[in-house]
Subunit: 386 residues, 2 copies
């Protein structure tokens, strides 16, 4: 084909844009945005190389350190949570490194896939969906396998509504291998559930803006221990966009980023952190714990079964087994179309078998009640006899 | 150090948050946001796995194809323009591949650095800052070097205010090597300056939301020719986050993304593309061309010198040599503090030697006049005799 043969692309005909509907969005991220944050995001753009933007980073960074519970610099990237997974892997490992991936659901699987895509040698310790990683089982398995450079853990598994006991798992790893790099995916937990990066001796921790932080998706935050920074210096995996050194250098030199940050989302993050500090970390954790318990109790009272082992049920997302004879998709469509309530389907092999309710970030008791009442109503409408 | 020794991190004391100032933001991105787009972005979050989000992608994707002038799917990622550079490199090449990097400024240098970071063998064809890549020079050099797999080009070099003649450069490459992959960084040009991906037979083209698209930073858009997709299938560079296959699969299956997209920015992009189609591609190009010419003429009339070769001066950004005896930083600070006008400094070795005025995306004649009048006033105040 010669250049002349190519046809220009005509103006496409597309469907008309309708207003974004007002919904009770109860998926485990994106989460609803408080009005204060909405308003903050409507400010006009500023220069990401100027003092006004640096002032934002100067407020946001120590506050993120406080929520991470770390003295390490918290680096921020325009990326999704999956970007955090990749950023963690590429900055500390080298091709062929042996890592242990502790998998309890879909996001643990994804983290292992990323490690494999980058040429790491991955040993998987898998637990059935709905179970947490048992520290004793992990301890035994670690003793049986070849020397390893790192362990990949999920704090809160969004696909199953299970929260791992990271402190115990980290202790088990540290006892077995004091130099191991402990990588923790805290995308749907940090800021909502207790996680203590420095006190628990975690090496890499990352999260995403669209979860407990109450702002839209688009910012990924990540921090690394001194052990991880030392590993970073030796790491041979190729990287540029997610490279920690350039991000840290720019942050320390000028409270800025090596590339253009998502400015409007940082306006939101600035206000969100202010609101979160006003509420207090302990209070935030308490209200998530109450919400988790409330949702689980109401779900059980409806005669429904939870996917999660009750000892490790997540306080940010609850996964419910779709009762026999009910089609998950039909239930979710009814809730969305008739009640303006949006819940999430299962992922991977649990698609159609469970539905998930998010209770993290910005929500009220009324939001939870409205969603649960509608679930009860629509399930019975669809023939559920529970 | 034992776990018990670690201290918890106290609540940080930070400076008070001040309102975001109203400025005449005349940097080459982020660019000001029109009120319609601001308003659209204030809509509440929706499920990125639901039909409302798919409807946005179903409108946005063909309209992006129209602006790219390609039948190839346009993939979108939560990323900056640098993410686009990395996404282009990692999807089509393999370690050790020989690529030619045509460099006319800072962003061309960055693209070459990314190729090197990923283990490609890079031959650089460099032109002095302010010059465009001369197609005849490039043609001669290409004949003298070893066989190459691809050529990395910059359409509009934001650091120097120079626009390459991509059509001529692509023709030169294609004549020399019909199978070469032509990668074009169109971050600060696409949507503002003419670029015809399919008619010009370009293989990979990418851009960023914070430039001519009139929305905040955070979305990167990229498209690949059939030749590039064939190369993608063979490419051995490690990748996951920026992988094209998963993005295309999800787009074609459900008008969605493999990971969580920046929802609020897509609200903005949806409206921006509607506004851009209403204005018309030719009209958008014309008003950028007029703005470029107007700024250059006024700058020359002030007795200032342009960095760019006048034959290739950019219509989205103008780089001006700081007159002898004037400190760039002092000028820019005065403009920002006293006039609320924000211009950009030079980058790399041109920092302090030039200043840059952005004229892309959403701006009015008054914005340009206000900025240029203030530059005139403050330069004279600082002792400029021109």
């Amino acid at each position: 084909m010669t250049i002349q043969d190519r046809k220009a692309i005509p103006i496409p005909q597309v469907e008309e844009r309708l207003p974004i509907p007002k919904q009770n969005l109860r998926v485990p991220g994106p989460t609803p945005i408080p009005p204060e944050i909405m308003e903050a995001q409507a400010a006009q753009m500023i220069n990401h190389r100027g003092p006004e933007f640096s002032a934002i980073m100067k407020r946001v960074t120590p506050r993120l350190q406080y929520f991470f519970q770390t003295t390490a610099p918290v680096l921020t990237y325009p990326a999704s949570g999956t970007g955090g997974q990749e950023c963690a892997v590429v900055n500390v490992f080298s091709p062929g490194d042996h890592v242990v991936s502790v998998i309890i659901g879909n996001f643990g699987t994804r983290l292992a896939k990323i490690a494999e895509a980058y040429g790491l040698n991955v040993t998987k310790i898998e637990f059935p969906w709905g179970q947490a990683a048992d520290p004793d089982v992990v301890a035994n398995r670690l003793q049986q396998i070849a020397p390893y450079r790192g362990v990949l853990l999920t704090h809160n598994e969004t696909s199953t509504g299970v929260t791992n006991d990271i402190q115990s798992l980290a202790t088990v790893v540290r006892n077995d291998n004091p130099d191991a790099l402990i990588v923790v995916d805290a995308v749907s937990s940090l800021g909502s559930l207790p996680l203590e990066m420095d006190p628990w001796d975690l090496d890499v921790v990352f999260t995403g803006s669209q979860k407990g932080w109450m702002i839209p998706p688009g910012i990924m935050m990540i921090a690394a221990s001194e052990r991880a920074w030392a590993a970073h210096k030796q790491s041979k995996l190729p990287r540029f966009y997610f490279d920690w050194s350039s991000a840290r250098k720019q942050l320390e030199a000028s409270w800025q980023h090596p590339t253009t940050p998502p400015v409007s989302l940082f306006y939101g993050l600035d206000v969100a952190l202010e609101m979160m500090l006003k509420e207090g970390r302990a209070n935030i954790f308490a209200h998530h714990a109450q919400a988790g318990e409330y949702v689980r109790n109401r779900v059980k009272a409806l005669g429904l079964k939870l996917l999660a082992d009750p000892r490790y049920a997540s306080n940010t997302v609850t996964a419910i087994l779709t009762p026999e004879g009910i089609e998950t998709k039909a239930l979710l469509t009814k809730l969305r179309k008739e009640d303006n309530i949006v819940l999430a389907d299962g992922q991977d092999h649990m698609k159609g078998k469970i539905f998930r309710i998010g209770h993290l970030g910005y929500f009220t008791q009324e939001d939870l009640d409205e969603a649960l009442n509608a679930v009860e109503h629509r399930l019975h409408e669809l023939g559920f006899q529970g």
